[in-house]
């Protein structure tokens, strides 16, 4: 699996990110770092504890990272969650949070696979 395939798998825009970050090496470096980013954990934790302000910020950060990395799919769902959480907790936000979790799962899985391919 190469980086472009990885982007296809996680629903991202490879051309876009390459356009901005210029080299594949750089993109690969940041994509791999995405797995270490703590924002997702923070989001899950704050949603559990009901700290929706913190959840909003975490979701906002995920959105920002996704924009930088052109992870379009996760960007969409995290963006919607951010907007929903801006107004506080709601049924809608709950649904969107589930979507973000699912999208994050797929994104993380794709990156993990890509990483394995590199190591293997």
């Amino acid at each position: 699996m190469n980086l472009k395939e990885c982007y296809e798998a996680l629903g991202g825009d490879y051309e876009d990110v390459l356009g901005r970050l210029r080299t594949e090496k750089l993109v690969q470096k940041f994509v791999l770092k995405f797995l270490n980013d703590k924002s997702y954990e923070l989001l899950c934790k704050s949603l559990e504890t009901g700290d929706y302000e913190e959840a909003f910020r975490a979701s906002h950060t995920i959105k920002g990272v996704c924009q930088n990395l052109s992870f379009t799919r996760l960007y969409e769902s995290s963006h919607q969650l951010t907007e929903a959480l801006r107004a506080g907790w709601s049924e809608e936000a709950a649904g969107l949070a589930e979507r973000v979790k699912a999208d994050y799962g797929r994104t993380a899985a794709a990156i993990s696979e890509f990483q394995k391919g590199l190591e293997g």
């Binding site: 980013d37 950060t61 920002g64 990272v65 924009q67």
Partner: protein, 846 residues
Amino acid sequence: MKNRITRFLITSAAAISVLCLVVFSFLAYYMNKQSGDTITAVGTIYMTGMNDRISMHFRTTIEMRLTQVEELVEEYPPEGSGRDGQGLAYGAKARGFNHLASCSGDGRFEMFFGSPVKVTDPEPFLQSIQNNEKKIAVGTDEDGNHLILMAVPAGYDMSDGQKSKALVAGLSVDYIKDILSLDENNTLVYSHIIRKDGSFVIRSAGAFRDTYFHRIRELFTEMGADDAERCVKELQSAMEENRDYSSILELGTERRHLYCAKLPYSEWYLVTVMPYGTLDATVGQLNDQWGYMVAGSCGVVLAALLLVFLRYFGLNKQQLAALEDARKEAVAANKAKSEFLSNMSHDIRTPMNAIVGMTAIASANLEDGERVRNCLRKITMSSKHLLGLINDVLDMSKIESGKMTLNMEQVSLREVMDSIVNIVQPQVKAKNQQFEVQIYDIAAENVYCDSVRLNQVLLNLLSNAIKFTPDGGLIIIAMYQEESPLGDGYVRNHIIVEDTGIGMSETFRKRVFESFVREDNARVNKTEGTGLGMAITKYIVDAMKGSIEVTSQQGKGTRFHVTLEMEKADVEEVDMILPDWNMLVVDDDQLLCESTVASLLDIGIKAEWTQDGESALELVRQRRREHRDFQIILLDWKLPGIDGIETARRINKILNGDIPIILISAYDWNDIEKEAKEAGISGFISKPLFKSTLFYGLRQHMGWREKAKEEETQQAGALEGYRVLLAEDNELNWEIASELLSEEGLKLDWAEDGRACVDMFVRSQPGYYDAILMDIRMPVMNGYEAARAIRELDREDKDVPIIAMTADAFSEDIKKCLECGMNAHVAKPIDIKEVSRILMKYINMR
């Protein structure tokens, strides 16, 4: 509901009216009776008093007379001077007596003077004299005149040698009558003096009967009353018992008060009768008045009540009507909103169509890089507009609550017109409409304006024109400028959108700028729309302090005229000069030709113009003959007679394809490109033809390199060595930013939140950092607070450029950033060019 209230009102009004009538009637009846009773009581008191007075008067008079007789006896005693009788007679005469006699115990009279008298009823008289009592009686003289006789015990010598029992003096009855005023006709009260058996002693005028009892009976019969006997009996028994008697005689309609009292020194009774007539009349009048008053008050109260009820009824009706109106309004509003939701897709679909269409064209021509680029450019424009529209729909609530704000920025009218023409082209094409763009007299291409809103206004007007113009119709958008009354720094822009569509009715024309309004007729219902477009348009134009006018004629077309004052942007315009080549402009619109030639002259080109293909060919031939060919030809696509492409073909035949021929059109180049290229047309310039459009459009065909590109490359590395503090809580984002910005030669320091950023800035040497890039959403302290904190520091470099970087691109966020003292805002994801440009701008500004 309505009926129930009406019924309740009517019922209660009726009930209250009846109650009112009953209460007032009772009041009238009660007062009537009460006043009658009072009058009776007053009458009785008055009568009694009257009778007392009369009998007192009678008593006083009689006693006075009796005293006079006694005086006579004292003055002329029987054993003294009274013996001869002369003195007595003299004394009696002097006291006004008519007769004087001595009377023996058996009733024999011996006259001292006056004619002989006879007692009418001698029995009680004699009895009283024999008892030596004072007494009065009635009698007659020889002529039958009635007399009052007064007897006082006295023993005068009689002719038979006996002593008399009493001295009797006589007076005419008239005297008593006068005294008692018994005969007065002008008094309402009349009195009689009667005996026990009812016979009259003294009768007042009008009493002709023998006895008073007869008279009563007669009177009762006369007046139609029937209890005469009862009255007589009561009177008789009262006289028997020597009581005073007082009674009210009800004589039919008339009432009389009868009072009977015993008179002293006699067996007589004084009967006084007083008719209630006058009193009754007065009382009756009072009662009548009272009655009228009551009836009047009753009427007034009823009228007032009725008025109140009617008013209430009216109010109630109004209220119900208002309620009904409100309900209808709510229903209409609801309907309008739901229609809005279902129709909203249309405005969104317009740019979407452009995107879809261009995507299709691009996919079909993947190998043609130029074409794909062109498509992508248009897709970008449409996407931008689509985003703007979606924002507008979200902003609708703001517009309605009047909170919309304008983002004034430098705008190129050329770009605005280009983008708008590009967006509407597919629609115009789909409906086979003719589309004309007229630009002339443009003094300032770059102005300050809210480009998104201006776009919105133009697109609303144009898409409406397209929507309501049938296939094959004509749509014109025109823009021209003139001097602004606001001064040299401003320019007045006229934008006219005209169509030959269905037009609108006069009534609708007046409402066209209201929300959710679409003309309600069969023709329009086929056309989709949100009904918000014109309201938004009007609102925006108002917010820009401009004006919008509409003229329309049903079936003929509509014309919108927008006038906006805009501030000129003082841009350093690239020195737009082209070689002074000879040029020919061919367009059927004279105004456009003249304006274009004027613009061309500005950029150094001498041009001629003509209005159709044939004359253009003629000119070309002429020049060829003169060996001074045109060096470039601008050719409109739609021309009268032979069209632009055919003209180009023929020109190329004449000139052997020596010179570039450029097509100008408001239509989409992609549609005609193939045909045009085959005809030997070398390029295309899209209308509207601004000066810059002409400059950039012509430049490529004149083999000019783009100077601007060189400038751009020169800029790389311009940020070399500057130090920037970057506040960003996310490590990954930081690394990316750091990586990208380091490429530009920037030195970056990382602060992981707002607090750290402020601290690092505080610890640094003044002037150490050239700028701060600030994320907004950070833990501990967010970007807004951090920016504020830095601005409040006591440092000479507290005005360091702070540029916000955030994923929020809402205008409020941008506004808030600026409010917190930040200089500018860039949206994520980081666009290194944009960030560099802004950093450059603010660093250089210091």
